[in-house]
């Protein structure tokens, strides 16, 4: 095999070693020219699995209540790692995982949606930080990603790209999944490679409905079979990133029903049970202490008896949803085994990217977007809205977009405090990891305890493959990897710790780890609260990070962070504070709270466009890219051709009945329906029939005031003539949906108005020539600026929950 210089990517093509004369006479071909670079001998296949929004205490493999037989069989034939760490937020963990570098240093101090104006928060991968899939691809691996991506900025998820922010641009030769942070599992707006392909056709198959986790496994297996059908020896790198267990918690009812009654004891007792099992399994030390409940979470005993079934069902669904993820990963593993390649496949399976998510707030929600739109609902309101959409038995169905109560997430992070977004504590930063590699791991079923971080995964994979991190890629000098290989721990349980220090930072929550000491610096804001009162202490000129509370733990003696030693070791506190600032400077963490900068007046430029035109064949416009109709007056104008005998169907629709709008014709009448997050539904119907021929229809919304969620009056017009009117008392202030797209001429996926549910996608039977949105700026520049600020606040809130 030709030895390649792998320090410069792409690998240079082979030098022609034959001879090319004027004619074939005397010429000698060199068949190496048509080959491709191959990885070093012995480079294994790699299956990298990442579960979403899950905690240390969720899977049974680590003592949790959720049955995970496939995770356990990998652990029993491989290794459990119980001191593996992530970043406490979704995109940052993914960016660190796939680059082997600290998340801020590669532009992901926050989530993909939030592309901010500071280097550590741009949500844009620097070209001097080539990611792992690119390195593996250029070294001869077949690379593919399936499932959740969440590394593409919100406004760049359409046909205009730019595609270097999409999975293909990161080095994955094939991608099937979702670009955003969360998705319906029943009707995701899918992307395949560099195209949004929208709602899967099987969504409309009532007998065998589409389910994203099943389809992910199917597509992965299909891809593996295709690769092996072509090339029996080329190693593969599969990144299998489940949408589960992120909200909405969608799973077939029978999966949830397997847990009927198993959470009736509530979250407090569940933690105790999990903690006891963790000790029995030995995944936590025998002397570990269970940390106490923070007052932010209610005691289960204080929950009214009438509401306990509501809360218990939330966790039953989450558990069934998570078990299904284990099932589908197991199908992929079985397929690799069936190919006869399990022994040559390194499997790294991380159960959770940021701890379990507390973003369902205290109550949980029938629709996760209610929180992000600033709609507070009591648990009784949540229960009634749940009843409206089918009741507890439908909690996991497509009729809802559910998220569970925060206390269930806290219980899922047993034995630690807090969870997602809280980078200062282990609830948000420590997740289980299992490594499986038969024939190489000799201590099958063993436990490994080195302090490891998600940035160590890529260096470990490269180490095992014998591939160096490149010095240059595309001629650009590369930032060295920040992670360190933990290969030694695979075969040696007594191997020295490969990592002795690491910083953590998520939305101002900070930690500094060094030589066993952990300094925790948590902002006192509750993660799901973004009220002015909650944010005021963090305003520029007000907040002094060093003046905030700091807790000090010595983890070798205190696995769970139960004993705060700060008062006893002020010098260590100061040393770690100083070290944090050094690391923060080095890795572009600064300025702290850049994620919340819009709340403090640092706004992106005010958009100038007021007109948005779509021809009739445009579909699947991602929800972050629809016209900015929120919180202001606007009009939708559509040019139609209506055949003799009239027409029916959808002219334009965004999202679904849990938030969205639709302009359609049914029974000859132009109709506009607007769902304010499924809480309020407003409908206006024309009083006369739609005429035939060339027709222009229009919906005008006149806002009452320049305020978020403003009410207003609706007028329907046909060829300029008013034909109907109505009122909408509340409108959506931030975002209709986190995942459901806008379509011209039909309503793909779940429909906005249940009145045409039986006709979905209710394609227009005439012709939609063009749909134009005209948004009307507010009269006062200050009003326009205030609304812009409020919308940016909402976007930040959405991003933090994604």
């Amino acid at each position: 095999m030709t030895e390649h210089d792998r320090s410069r990517l792409p690998i240079r093509r082979e030098t022609f070693a034959g001879a090319a004369g004027r004619t074939l006479d005397g010429s000698q071909p060199d068949w190496n020219l048509i080959g491709h670079p191959a990885p070093p001998d012995g480079a294994p296949n790699v299956l990298l699995v990442l579960i979403d929004d899950a905690g240390f205490g969720n899977p049974a493999t680590f003592g949790g209540p959720i049955r995970t037989p496939n995770y356990t069989r990998m652990a029993e034939a491989g290794l459990r790692y119980n001191r593996f760490h992530v970043t406490a937020l979704c995109s940052p963990t993914r960016a660190a995982l796939l680059t082997g570098r600290n998340n801020h240093a590669v532009g992901f101090g926050s989530v993909g949606e939030f592309a901010g104006g500071f280097p550590g928060y741009s949500a844009t991968l620097p070209r001097d930080c080539a990611p792992l899939p690119r390195i593996l691809r250029d070294n001869g691996y077949s690379t593919a990603a399936f499932g959740k991506w969440h590394l593409t900025p919100d406004g760049q998820q359409g046909p205009a790209g730019p595609f270097d922010r999409w999975p293909n641009g990161w080095g994955f030769e094939y991608f099937y999944g979702i670009l955003g942070g969360g998705s319906s599992q029943w009707d995701p707006c899918l992307a395949e490679n560099q195209k949004i392909i929208g709602t899967p056709e099987d969504f409309y198959d009532e007998e065998h409905p589409y389910y994203f986790p099943d389809a992910m496994a199917d597509r992965t297996i299909e891809w593996l079979h295709g690769v092996r059908g072509q090339d029996a020896g080329k190693p593969f790198f599969v990144y299998y990133s489940t949408g589960c267990s992120h909200a909405p918690h969608h799973v077939a009812k029978d999966w949830a029903d397997r847990y009927k009654g198993q959470f009736d004891q509530g979250w407090d007792r569940l933690r105790e049970q999990t903690f006891a099992r963790q000790k029995e399994l030995g995944v936590i030390p025998a002397d570990a202490e269970l940390t106490p409940r923070d007052p932010a979470f209610p005691a289960w005993d204080d929950v009214p008896d009438t509401l306990k079934p509501f809360y218990a069902r939330q966790m039953e669904v989450y558990a069934g949803y998570s078990e299904n993820a284990d099932h589908n990963v197991g199908r992929v593993i079985d397929a690799i085994d069936e190919l006869g390649e399990l022994d040559n496949t390194l499997i790294i399976w991380i159960w959770g990217d940021n701890g379990a998510s507390m973003e369902g707030t205290v109550t949980g929600s029938f629709n996760e977007l209610t929180m992000q739109n600033g709609i507070p609902l009591t648990d009784e309101m949540q229960l009634q809205l749940t009843e409206r959409y089918g009741g507890l038995e439908a909690w996991s169905s497509s009729l809802m977009a559910p998220h569970y109560g925060a206390a269930w997430a806290w219980a899922g992070n047993t034995p630690f405090r807090w969870g997602k977004q809280v980078g200062s504590h282990l609830g948000g930063t420590r997740n289980p990891m299992v490594v499986h590699w038969p024939g190489h791991i000799t201590d099958a079923g063993g436990l490994r305890t080195p302090f490891a971080h998600v940035i160590d995964v890529a260096p470990t994979i490269l180490d095992l493959a014998g591939i160096p991190a490149p010095d240059t890629v595309d001629g650009i000098e590369q930032e060295p990897l920040h992670g360190t290989s933990f290969v030694a721990s695979l075969t040696d349980g007594a191997a020295p710790e490969h990592r002795t220090q690491q910083y953590f930072e998520t939305i101002g929550n900070r930690a500094m780890y060094k030589d066993g000491w952990w300094l925790a610096m948590r902002t006192e804001r509750i993660p799901w609260l973004l009220t002015p009162e909650a944010l005021a202490p963090y305003a520029p000129g007000v907040w002094d990070p060093d003046a905030g509370p700091a807790e000090l733990y010595y983890l070798p003696d205190d696995f769970t962070q139960a004993q705060d030693l700060a008062a006893e070791h002020p010098d260590k506190v100061q040393e770690l504070k100083d070290l944090f600032w050094e690391e923060a400077e080095r890795y572009k963490v600064l300025p702290l709270l850049a994620t919340l900068s819009t709340f403090f007046g640092m706004l992106p430029p005010l958009p100038a466009e007021t007109t948005f035109a779509y021809r009739g064949d445009v579909q699947n416009v991602m929800p972050g890219m629809i016209p900015r109709i929120y919180n202001r007056s606007y009009a939708i104008t559509a040019d139609l051709v209506v055949p003799e005998g009239s027409a029916e169907g959808v002219i334009v629709a965004e999202a679904d009945h849990l938030g969205g709008f639709t302009l359609y014709v049914k029974d000859g009448k132009l109709t506009h329906t607007y769902s304010m997050m499924g809480v309020f539904v407003f409908r206006q119907v024309a009083e006369e029939d739609l005429p035939t021929g060339d027709v222009t229809v229009r919906m005008e919304f006149e806002a009452d005031e320049a305020k978020p969620a403003t009410g207003g009056n609706v007028t329907l017009l046909i060829d300029g003539r008013p034909v109907g009117k109505g009122r909408m008392d509340h409108t959506v202030p931030v975002r209709f949906s986190g995942y459901s797209g806008m379509d011209i001429g039909r309503d793909n996926g779940g429909v906005v108005d249940r009145a045409y549910e039986d006709k979905k996608p209710f394609a227009f039977t005439g012709t939609v020539k063009k749909v134009v949105f005209d948004v009307t700026p507010h009269l006062s520049d200050q009003d326009e600026l205030d609304i812009h600020a409020a919308e940016q606040h909402g976007q930040a809130a959405h991003g933090l929950s994604a």
């Binding site: 309101m381 009843e387 009220t531 008392d729 249940r754």
Partner: protein, 171 residues
């Protein structure tokens, strides 16, 4: 005691689900108190209206609740009065109080009950308040109006009082 010598109470409850409204409706019917009338009106997700009423006043030859009108104003406040994202997103006005007297219940409720929502009206003598009111456990918003006088006038007066309280709650 004749109706026109009693103080009449009218309870109005608002719901985000029809199930919850019917649960309370059944609860007041079986609470043991003598009701002058009870009406539950709901609208499903497709916008279809349904009305169920047990109007005891009809038995006495008086006009039923349906004839004195249906009142809403139940649904917005305090649903959006505060916000998790911030005051900027919470500055949402309350629902305008709609008043429909003298019209058929289907017409008035059809315009004012939101899709997926429901309303409950119960009329009873004030002396039974401690029996009736605790039976209504699931209303998102609930007001009680009261008035004295002849039975139909008392009903109208109590409804008006309830409407006024709803309006106050909405501001």
């Amino acid at each position: 005691m004749p109706l026109d010598q009693e103080t009449t109470d009218v309870l109005i409850g608002g719901y985000l689900s029809t199930d919850a409204a019917h649960e309370d409706y059944q609860a007041v019917l079986s609470c043991g108190a003598r009701l002058w009338g009870a009406v539950v009106v709901s609208k499903d997700l497709e916008g279809n209206l349904s009305v169920e009423q047990t109007d005891h006043m009809v038995e006495e030859g008086a006009a039923g609740l349906a004839s004195v009108g249906f009142v809403v104003g139940l649904f917005a406040p305090p649903l959006l009065a505060a916000t998790a994202i911030g005051a900027a997103l919470g500055a949402v006005g309350g629902k305008v109080l709609h008043r429909r007297t003298g019209s058929k219940i289907e017409e008035s409720a059809g315009e004012t009950i939101p899709i997926g929502g429901a309303g409950l009206i119960v009329a009873y003598k004030h002396a039974d308040a401690e029996t009736v009111e605790p039976a209504v456990t699931r209303a998102i918003s609930k007001v009680v109006g009261e008035a004295d006088g002849h039975h139909v006038e008392a009903l109208k007066g109590a409804l008006a009082d309830a409407q006024k309280k709803l309006a106050e709650d909405s501001t």
